[in-house]
Every structure is written in structure tokens, then in C-alpha cells.
């Protein structure tokens, strides 16, 4: 099957440079273009000041489209957040949440995006209630499939049922490549060591991860209470036993941090991409650390890209760097270099025979 795999950068990747003023929005776009990526993913709440007001103005939009033209970039995905706790005394009603989703769809369309990422916490009714408007605006709503969630799971089945029942072409999945981690990312281990973790405890956690990988992760169930589903998932995957082993080995805060955080990564079979390709139109190419040899320390980039090729994927792989949060406590983060390397690693995987 013929594929058309394009490369994008999520500006989430440059959060450190943006935070301390080394890059502004235009600077991020410029860096994105330098990597050879042709797409850009935006978290409007991160880099558009006084969100959402400027998006409503022609002046800002002219500037945005001017930049895209200048740097040769296409809008790939708009990342939305459904803030349902903005009123102190209550959660937003269903109608208010649908209206907020529609607002985000409209803002995405105004900036030229045809894909919108929504968080796993978005209620099904809110998605269903927005589908007609999404079709009108030609924007597809993508549910992020981020560890501990996975495709081909009880959780994903809940959404598949809705897709099949409604026949919608405007909802699907946005896999986050953090669900294809063969190891715990090296930057997390480095941080744990820097905080004083014991080698013995690190080994317990790494061995437990390897065992989960070998046995296959127990998948998460569909539940309206995501916190509960997450805890059940953790327990089913042996978190309790592992935490006890770390404690018995005399684990302190650094060891417990490493042990607990190891459950935010997971491994799914790349075949899941092939099985679900009809419902995948954008992908978060999550990564944690790419070495000078262009090898990612945790995410199985070549295997996953191979699955996208086999499946005939038509869409973007959007670099999403998340190693910085583990490093910034003790060193300067260089997201620009990390994204450059990651784009090169993806280019090799996509263009390789």
C-alpha cells in the first residue's frame, strides 16, 4: 500500500527555550523549518499570549500565515485542552463543554489546522456533540492515545463503538509514540541517579519493565473514571510488587520517583498501528533522548515507522520532545538539537529502504 509519511514538529518540544525567552513563537517556527520538517503542531495556550483573543483578529492571523509561508510550513495539528473546572463551584455542563470544544475547533480552523488533538479526559458525549460542527469546519478530532492507554484495548473499543455507530469521518486516534517504549527513557534514569537513586533499585525497576515487555502489558479498560482505570492498570502490571521490592531494597525518594514514573511508559505492538490505520490521521512522535548516533534510547522508531509504511499511513509524524523535564533540574536543555536529531532519525526511517 502506498504511504505518504510527512514530518512535523510540535512546538511543545521547544518549551524550555520558550520558557526562558531564548525562542519566541516565530523563533520556534524558524527552528522547525531548519530541521526539514514541513508541518507544525501548536499548543495555542502555550505560545499565543492572551489566548484565545489574538486568534480572533485578522492582524494575528495575517502574521501567522505570513510566517508559515516564509518558513514553508503547513499547520498539522492544534492541541486543545478542555478546561472544565474554570468555575469554582461546579464542573462545566455538557452543553458548555460542547461549546468549548466547538470554540477550539473554530480556533483551529481559523489558523488553518484540519486536525485537533483532544485529551483522553474529554467525555464521549462532548466528542459526539461536536462531530457535526467538526465536519462543517473540516477539522478532525483526534483522541490522544498516550501511555497508559493503548490501541486495541478495552479503552479504545469504547471509542470504536462510537465511530462505527455514528459512521463519523471526523473522529479518530492520535497515537503518542510513548506507547512504543522498549525501555524506560535514559533521561529518567540519569535524573534518578543524579538525585541519588541506588543501582540495585534501578535494576529492580528496569527488570520489571523488561518483564512487562516480555509478557505483554496488561491493557487498560474503558472506564469513565480514568484515575480508577489507571490504578487498576498499574496494579495489573505488577506495580505493587515492584514498589514493595524497591522499598525492601531500601529505596529512598529518588528510587520511588524512578519506580513510580516507570508506569508512565509502555509498549504496544506496532501491529496496533496497522490494525487501526483507518482511524489514524495524525501522530505524536514522542521522544525522550536521541544520541549523536541518531538512536532513540526508548522509543522503537524504526519498527514503528515500518508499521506506518506497511499500513499505508498518510499523515504527519510530529516530533514531541519530552526529555527536557528530566534534565532541566541540573542542566541546560537543548531541545533544538534534540529535535534536529529526532527529525533526522525519522527521515532515515521513512526514506530508508
Amino acid at each position: 500500500m502506498s504511504y505518504d509519511i510527512k514530518r512535523s514538529v510540535s512546538l511543545y518540544s521547544y518549551q524550555d527555550e520558550y520558557y526562558d525567552g531564548r525562542l519566541d513563537l516565530e523563533g520556534c517556527l524558524k527552528e522547525t523549518a531548519k530541521t526539514g520538517a514541513t508541518g507544525v503542531e501548536l499548543l495555542a495556550e502555550q505560545m499565543i499570549r492572551r489566548f484565545p483573543l489574538p486568534i480572533e483578529t485578522q492582524e494575528f492571523r495575517d502574521q501567522w500565515f505570513g510566517w508559515l509561508k516564509e518558513y514553508g510550513l503547513e499547520p498539522s495539528c492544534y492541541d486543545a485542552f478542555l478546561e472544565n473546572r474554570i468555575y469554582d463551584n461546579r464542573t462545566l455542563t455538557l452543553k458548555e463543554q460542547v461549546n468549548m470544544m466547538k470554540r477550539d475547533i473554530r480556533l483551529a480552523a481559523l489558523l488553518g489546522f484540519h486536525n485537533l488533538r483532544t485529551l483522553v479526559s474529554t467525555p464521549m458525549d462532548v466528542i459526539e456533540g461536536s462531530l457535526e460542527y467538526a465536519a462543517e469546519q473540516d477539522v478532525k478530532i483526534g483522541l490522544e492515545v498516550h501511555a497508559p492507554f493503548s490501541l486495541n484495548s478495552g479503552w479504545a473499543d469504547g471509542y470504536m463503538e462510537m465511530i462505527l455507530r455514528t459512521g463519523t469521518k471526523h473522529f479518530g486516534f492520535i497515537p503518542d509514540m510513548g506507547i512504543f517504549c522498549k525501555n524506560i527513557p535514559s533521561v529518567l534514569r540519569d535524573k534518578a541517579r543524579n538525585m541519588g537513586a541506588k543501582e540495585e533499585c534501578i535494576k529492580i525497576v528496569d527488570d520489571a519493565y523488561a518483564k512487562r515487555l516480555e509478557k505483554g502489558f496488561v491493557k487498560i479498560k474503558y472506564d469513565l473514571d480514568l484515575g480508577k482505570a489507571n490504578m487498576e492498570y498499574r496494579m495489573a502490571n505488577g506495580m505493587k510488587e515492584m514498589m514493595e521490592a524497591v522499598e525492601q531494597a531500601g529505596g529512598g525518594p529518588a528510587d520511588m520517583m524512578y519506580a513510580g514514573s516507570s508506569f508512565t511508559y509502555s509498549w504496544s505492538e506496532p501491529q496496533d498501528i496497522i490494525d487501526n490505520i483507518d482511524y489514524i490521521f495524525h501522530t505524536h512522535a514522542k521522544f525522550y533522548h536521541v544520541g549523536e548516533d541518531y538512536a532513540e534510547t526508548a522509543v522503537a522508531i524504526p519498527e514503528v515507522v515500518e508499521a506506518f509504511k506497511k499500513a499505508g499511513y498518510q499523515g504527519y509524524l510530529s516530533s514531541e520532545y519530552e526529555g527536557g523535564e528530566h534534565l532541566r533540574g541540573y542542566m541546560q536543555v537543548d531541545s533544538v538539537e534534540q529535535v534536529r536529531r529526532h527529525q533526522e532519525a525519522m527521515r532515515r526511517a521513512i526514506e530508508g529502504a
Partner: protein
């Protein structure tokens, strides 16, 4: 997440009214990876030199407006705290702080959507009191800062 940037190191100053010190203030950044609507920001856990200062004695200054208490902040539903903007936390304390070094324990509480944390459902029913373990973004720790009181202030 951006824990070590929460307080700007050279920003601790006393606050004066009619020539008398009535408290202290320091500059903060958002600990999450994005901005937020102000009403989601429900205060700080603040411990200065072993004394806790609850939300009732805290005020927050942002967006060029005079410092507002958190009863008012929670009504600022559509006002945005930009990711790259610094705000000031004001704490009422008669006489202010003595010159020299001070140890401040801080946790910022922002009830933004994160997605799937075990505490999410609980937050809907029972918003956390800052310091009880819920922080901004992924920051659930109380961060400690050693700060030197700066001259001046207003």
C-alpha cells in the same frame, strides 16, 4: 515541572504601606508547560522560615492589575495567565521579613486538565488545598528556595 524556576531568586522583597512593612512578595512563573485561565489558579502552599501562610493572606498580581486575593482570582474565568509571564505573590505579614536569608517552601496549585492522573476525579468533587499534594502540571512536590531579602520594595 519547571519547579526550580517557580520563584525568581532575586525577587524577595518586603511590601510597605504608609512607610510600614505589612508583608512580603516574590516573583513566580507558571510551573506547567502552558498558560492557564486565571480561575484555575487556586493559590499556593507557602511556608516561610517554618511558618505557614494560608491562601487567606495571599494575593496575586498579574496582567498589570493590582494584587487580587484568591477569592477574586477564582472569578477571573476568561483572563489568561500567559505561559511566559511572571506574576507576583503577596503575603500579609506584619512587619515584613527581617533582612538576610529566608527559606521558602512553595507549591503552586493550578487545576488545569492534565488527562488521566489518579487524582483527577477527586479534584472535581473536592478541589485540593495547596500543599496537599496537588500541584501545577506534574509538580506535586513542595519546592524549597533559599532567598535573600532584597532592598527596596513598595
Amino acid at each position: 515541572m519547571f519547579d526550580q524556576y517557580l520563584i525568581r531568586k532575586d525577587s524577595l522583597q518586603n511590601v510597605y504601606e504608609d512607610g510600614k512593612a505589612v508583608g512580603f512578595k516574590f516573583a513566580v512563573r507558571i510551573a506547567d508547560y502552558r498558560g492557564c485561565f486565571l480561575s484555575l489558579h487556586n493559590g499556593y502552599y507557602i511556608n516561610c522560615d517554618g511558618v505557614e501562610y494560608p491562601r487567606e493572606v495571599q494575593k496575586f498580581e498579574i496582567n498589570g492589575k493590582a494584587p487580587r486575593d484568591f477569592e477574586e482570582i477564582k472569578t477571573c474565568v476568561w483572563e489568561h495567565w500567559n505561559y511566559d509571564d511572571e506574576g507576583f505573590v503577596y503575603v500579609t505579614k506584619e512587619g515584613g521579613l527581617a533582612p538576610g536569608k529566608h527559606t521558602i517552601g512553595l507549591q503552586q496549585s493550578i487545576l488545569a486538565q492534565y488527562g488521566y492522573m489518579p487524582w483527577d476525579e477527586e479534584w472535581l468533587k473536592n478541589p485540593p488545598v495547596p500543599g496537599s499534594g496537588a500541584g501545577a502540571g506534574k509538580t506535586a512536590a513542595i519546592c524549597t528556595f533559599e532567598l535573600e531579602l532584597q532592598e527596596g520594595g513598595c
